[in-house]
Assembly symmetry: C2
Homo-oligomer: 472 residues x 2
């Protein structure tokens, strides 16, 4: 039988929350101070973590101390240490003390920003900080919020490009025209582009894979020929996705040329600069912005290389109308005076999910804590360290660069071939001091060194070069 | 000119982080202790927040104190207070002290769980805690991870249902068959279902809107007739989305009957129980699970009513293979030994985006801090308070129930009609003590009272009933 007047659960008191919160902050401080001493890849086999956990949830609540103890003894040793200064795998997942605290404030406020009216500051701070970011990076004015477009935070570049795919698809006729639509991207584009295209209902054959040049950048002439051939076949080129800083080698597609080809046929151009975009806070990397003044949308991830915790992908559109045309559905229960007035942005209409967290806080914390000077120093230290590493690779007779150095990304291989390269990767990773991942370029095995971790300094990169010297 | 050996930015020292973190925790403790005294809807006009912020980012970093001061003076007064105990709008966005700290740990660890190998504990804790949740809620065994299916955390129910749409679409032939595919849901389904269907490339006409009965639940006989008619026309019913606890009135579709109709024609059945699902932690609400043993996927949001911060939508599938068939793309740079072994789950293949946060931590913190007893007490207090409110509505001659009471959701209207109902809503909201939103049922204006906020007790609900008495 149910109790007569159920009183709800016992919550932590404010004092208990303070104590538990301070303990958690202290634990994180210790964790970050000691992360460099942990092995980067945890020594766990599939199932190990689960085997350490009780099979059923407790019926009676446990103390917070017990939780934090388990974080320390069961969880922290079993995560891959993305914040280790020797983590050079994939692309970095940046974090920073102010960003961590921005996430904390967001969780503490506990608001949901689907509409302007469901939390005005959540929406307006996001618009504002993305204008700040546009200014810091020197993005074209078309991406600022004082025109028909503006910026929004997505969870990931995959989701940002999905929005671009949807807007482009629907601008070109939507589901009725779908079978005739074609999307173009290079064979070096991120796998999420293919995934997004399939999510949006295209068949695999509707994604045209444009060849790349010797430096792995899209061949714009080949694009032009493919577009022309498709037009001749009565097909409709609806979208070209260019990549600035490919995942495999950091190659930069010729955006200006691509935009020229695309705009001539009315196709949307989306630029995926997920990793490289952060570097544009430095004026010396403004070449990465070439042609952006002619594209429809652009995304890069401050959570990769701009000191902001995942998730924070900055997605900019020159015109938000096609986005909202694809993504806005307004049932009665979401109608409100502010939305009806047309004076506000409802970011629900700029993304696929309805609900949204207050993610602008962490980016605001980061930009204010570091200032643009600090952000530039962050990028410059890594770009310089990568250049030094590339020099040492070139100086090592057993190694060779597998692609041109790109910002903080060094791609190399062993001169003895794939087997030696694979062995070198395994040997480096097995030290626990450094962690690399691989890719394939021209079907050859390539080691990728992505220099960009928050705590990664020249010293850590030098140590990696030493490991190459010892192990190659 | 670039500096010779750039040294990177100045980061907070561990001691500075401790101090800033403690201050942030203290600020949140104060904020939560005082949230009940704030007006729920902030007194801000469009543009007010932005007008209080500098137009450009700072070049030199600022102190953390300045940030926290601005959170206090500019941000907190300009958010809608979802954590106010008088917030009865939409559905609640639950939060709780342990959940907030779970988010903090997740941010502190800074891992990215796209693959098992990119953070084993991130994946395994998620699998494990979703099994715990399945057990706590009495979900059918088919949704546990020891079979071909299991659970995964999505950011929102919109994203969960999108995954179901994609899996269903592709299981029924994918893009080639797309024009002939049909999806069915009731006119009371959440707007995200329509959005998901459009995202997936369907035309609007391919979504069949099934009529509802007098209590706003899907008419399964009508569904059967529509499916039959479409089959007769050579079309392919690929998915039925049933709702357990509709947004407008908390109606519960007859899932068992729906599953019977759908399974006879090989259509996927997804059950969207975004809000109501949390109530199934109480055995007395196990009727909400009727028929779930025959459906393909199921989602509910602990971030709505189970003390867990947004974002945390629990998405369960009976068989993960169709999901992965739709969502798995494996480029070389994401290949790794663990994935190749087939012994691990890579949750990247269970969602649309690639990257993922360590969201299981907060749910783990919640389930252990409250225990299943605490979770039940949480739900029971709200269900009881809503029942009392419904009694007071029925006792008020100027009010009437607009739909049957459903768990914590009370739908009512003024007997004098829409204008009086709209005025009552505005009057209640203008007190700042309580906040309601509206919907339409049978084209009539309805006030929704969603009792479910973390800090909402019987006292707050009684106060709302008093306001109705005073203002109706």
């Amino acid at each position: 039988m149910m109790p007569e007047a159920p009183s709800g659960p016992d919550h932590m008191t404010p004092d208990e929350f303070r104590a538990a919160g301070h303990a958690t902050v202290d634990w994180i401080a210790d964790f970050l101070a000691g992360v460099a001493d942990r092995p980067i890849m945890p020594d766990v086999a599939p199932g190990d973590v689960r085997a350490s956990l009780p099979p059923s949830p407790p019926s009676v609540g446990e103390s917070f101390d017990a939780l934090l103890d388990d974080v320390d003894s069961l969880i922290a040793p079993a995560v891959t240490q993305w914040q280790h200064p020797g983590f050079f795998g994939y692309f970095p997942a940046n974090s920073s003390p102010p960003s961590v605290l921005g996430e904390l404030v967001s969780a503490g406020l506990g608001v949901q920003g689907m509409l302007w009216s469901t939390s005005p500051a959540c929406t307006e701070l996001e618009t504002h900080v993305l204008d700040w970011l546009a200014e810091a990076c020197g993005l074209p004015d078309r991406f600022r919020s004082d025109g028909p477009g503006g910026g929004v935070i997505q969870d990931s570049a995959s989701s940002a490009s999905l929005c671009a795919v949807l807007a482009a698809r629907d601008r070109s006729g939507g589901s009725e025209a779908l079978p005739d639509l074609r999307v173009y991207t290079s064979g070096q584009a991120h796998s999420s582009i293919e995934k997004d295209v399939l999510v949006a209902g295209f068949g695999r054959h509707q994604l045209r894979v444009v060849p790349v040049d010797g430096d792995y950048a899209m061949d714009a002439d080949a694009l032009a020929r493919m577009v022309e051939a498709d037009l001749a076949d009565g097909l409709v080129p609806c979208l070209v996705v260019a990549t600035v800083g490919t995942t495999s080698s950091g190659a930069v597609d010729p955006v200006a040329r691509i935009a020229e080809v695309a705009s001539a046929v009315g196709a949307w151009v989306h630029v995926d600069s997920a990793w490289a975009g952060s570097a544009t806070v430095c004026p010396e990397h403004s070449d990465l912005l070439d042609g952006l003044d002619r594209v429809d949308s652009y995304a890069f991830n401050p959570h990769k290389w701009l000191l902001t915790n995942f998730d924070c992908s900055a997605f900019y559109v020159a015109d938000a109308a096609p986005l909202a045309a694809s993504l806005s559905i307004v049932p009665d229960y979401l109608r409100n005076a502010a939305s009806d007035s047309g004076e506000v942005v409802d970011y629900r209409d700029w993304q696929v999910p309805l609900g949204r967290r207050f993610r602008a806080l962490k980016l605001w914390f980061v930009m204010r804590s570091y200032g643009t000077d600090g952000l530039r120093a962050h990028i410059r230290a890594h770009v310089a360290a990568a250049a030094t590493l590339a020099d040492r690779v070139r100086a090592n007779p057993r190694l060779e660069m597998a692609a041109p150095l790109s910002l903080g990304l060094v791609c190399l291989r062993h001169v003895d071939g794939d087997e030696a390269s694979e062995r070198l990767l395994a040997d480096v990773n097995s030290t626990g001091e450094a962690f690399l991942t691989h890719t394939k370029l021209d079907d050859r095995f390539v080691l990728r060194v992505a220099v960009g971790g928050t705590w990664t300094t020249a010293t850590h990169v030098d140590r990696l070069a030493d490991l190459f010297d010892d192990l190659a």
